[in-house]
Symmetry: C2
Amino acid sequence: MNPFVVIGGDAAGLSAASKLKREDPDREVVVFEKGRWVSYAHCGTPYFVKGEVESLVDLTSLSSDEIEERGIDLRREHEAVDVSTDEKTVTVRGPDGEFEQRYGDLLLATGARAAEPIEGGDLDNVFTLHGLDSAARIRALLEEPSEFTVESLGGGGYVDEDVVRYGDRTPPETVAVVGGGYVGVEMCEAFDAWDLDVHLFQRPDSLLPEFGGSVGERVEETLAEEGVEVHIGTEVEKLSGDGAVEEVVTSGGSVSVDAALVGVGVRPNVGPVENEVELGRSGAVAVDRYGRTSAENVYAAGDCAEARHVVTGESAWVPLGLTANRAGRAIGATVAGEHTPVGGVAGTAVVKAFDLECGRTGLVNEEEAREAGFEPVTVTVDTRSRSGYYPGAAETTVRLVADRGTGRLLGGSIVGEDRAAVRINTVATALESGMTVDEVERLDLGYAPPFSPVWDPVLVAAKVLNGKL
Amino acid sequence: MNPFVVIGGDAAGLSAASKLKREDPDREVVVFEKGRWVSYAHCGTPYFVKGEVESLVDLTSLSSDEIEERGIDLRREHEAVDVSTDEKTVTVRGPDGEFEQRYGDLLLATGARAAEPIEGGDLDNVFTLHGLDSAARIRALLEEPSEFTVESLGGGGYVDEDVVRYGDRTPPETVAVVGGGYVGVEMCEAFDAWDLDVHLFQRPDSLLPEFGGSVGERVEETLAEEGVEVHIGTEVEKLSGDGAVEEVVTSGGSVSVDAALVGVGVRPNVGPVENEVELGRSGAVAVDRYGRTSAENVYAAGDCAEARHVVTGESAWVPLGLTANRAGRAIGATVAGEHTPVGGVAGTAVVKAFDLECGRTGLVNEEEAREAGFEPVTVTVDTRSRSGYYPGAAETTVRLVADRGTGRLLGGSIVGEDRAAVRINTVATALESGMTVDEVERLDLGYAPPFSPVWDPVLVAAKVLNGKL
């Protein structure tokens, strides 16, 4: 039988490869990864830059030895440059030249890349945070040259030697973060930990817009309290400088900086297959509930693929870690003969902004809900995280959105300093089963003074929302 | 119209009275409360004893003025001693003697009382923790006589003057806690905060047995680490002493103590109505989904009433705070003319044991599941609360129980030091909608390294359980 070929050696790809090998140990499995890093936690990179995670190797979940032990034929620095679904071949470019690889089943797990760079994005000391190499460069730049060594990054031989160039430079004093999404917000915290003056530029009128305004406002307040200069509604027109970046030119004036991090979103990597499989409206690969693309025996999973949204029932592109891991694992099982759905997405996401915890799930913004055919009704309610008399009760703001016609819960967000993020899972679980606000209001949630008021913050918001329906 | 009469001025009773007054301001509402305290947070009393909550008044959620402003006719120190559902009257004993009160609708919100006391339970310095008076006495005893004043308890005039007697005594050095349920575990922490030597006696072979063994073991370890002497599988035969308690006599020998807290569970208060309305198997008042008893226009809510269990569909008696508040509020709405279900119970509960957080919901023990007609399959899985590389990742043990035949999730428990308790709400929400383990495994829960691994602890356990089904 022809091998199971995987393009991309990160979450989706290696989950699929591992699962198939476990279920069908005799099947040949080949994974092509264009870089040197495999199986790493992208979401951990801000904390590596911050210095809270010491070593790059800590961010990898599988070592080479472990991958080898699983019987997976992993080829690093091998890029899939073309796919022919007629011939069932992949054209691969490796250190020893180009070759054709036949496949029996193919998984596209090519991930995403940083969105179009802005003008001046190629200046020195300008970074995107995509992959461990970029994380390594940024931390190399932040460390004092006298203390920097490649070994201090702990890359186990995989560190791009280019980082030495950054390690030798004088650390910046002022940094621009362009883009106030997850990465931008997390990187403000990371740079602040190195005592840099941090300027955050956000074009929309709110940080983390996909979390809804109530979260964005609290995050903005928190960043400001921590000393981050937040420029909301400010478009960065270009970065300028002579060699290295020196200035951020915005719609509201210019700011001098020594370094810049550009985090304005990601796009799916579909280059090698864009004419071979159907793409969805988002530009990512369209798949069915088993992760199958329009081409026979070709699957797609992770940041390059769409998934079914549990609220709208439509395809959506939500590039997040759990989705990638789960879809990869399911496809591994399916290829092994046990048909396993990849699961839906609710767009559940959590993010930390200094001491603030934020969570969101489903349809949080009314416009998005209306586009999906709902008539949204929204409440934003300030609650407390514990019984009011118990020390440490923290303001916790819950936003819930429901459909007026059916009373169905559509989504929500939560923000606060005390256990706010994990509380979003209650809402995510309710979405998955299509609960009405009435049903959510009657959920039997846990109550004890140190952890929650009698009415959990989610229940309080459901109660208020129910009154508006 | 005849008035809405409520027996019991705590969570269920005052929630119902307030809701009815809001919906139907002209209706006369009379609340009889046999004690002096109303609307207080029973669950907060261990933290008052501990000293973390300073004043008794902090534990009350409504003041007399607020209750009066709502137009509720509240009569403290009025005990309902008899009910005639034929005559639609309540016989009330108050400071000025006995009288008959007619009702149009009646709510039984009589709560629960401490279960049968053990031999020697009437000795001095032996307490149950039931209500603010007992909490006041215990804290009075713990305070140094030279520093004690009734005012320091902050009772706003409602403190039982009997506490002075305890305030004058020398504080104990060694205390016995009899019973290792919620109250027992919380009180170990409270006594430990006053530097007492604490002995905890538990007859069953596990602490918090309704949370399952995996939680009991972790709690036992934690209590031991904190210096509590835990006597598991040890039956307390009696307390003995001359006037005040001096010794705990157990199946495993005797221990000298200066004080004892007996927390061996509660029983529903149904005295005044036991021959007037149908009781359930538990001994609590049987109700339908609107909280209606077998007698016309008579409702029951809170710790004296049963409720429908969301997993078994059968009546269950789970005396907890949220259930009482919600049922009271629903009955207030129903009496006002808007039929509102009281909601089911999943038996969701959370408890803190020093730094350990515990949660449980649904059917956690296999025996209980078998009795309900299921074929239970159980897993207990050790997971981590955050990405392994992120500082502060804490061992989090998840137990999940499912039905082999249908794959339906039946219940679970979680224990750990990092945000473990609130995670039980994910499981509780899944129970409410009757999810299968398959569906739980595919939930889109939040992931970010500071809050959760890629696969949330609940998802990890569901994955393992699914493999066993």
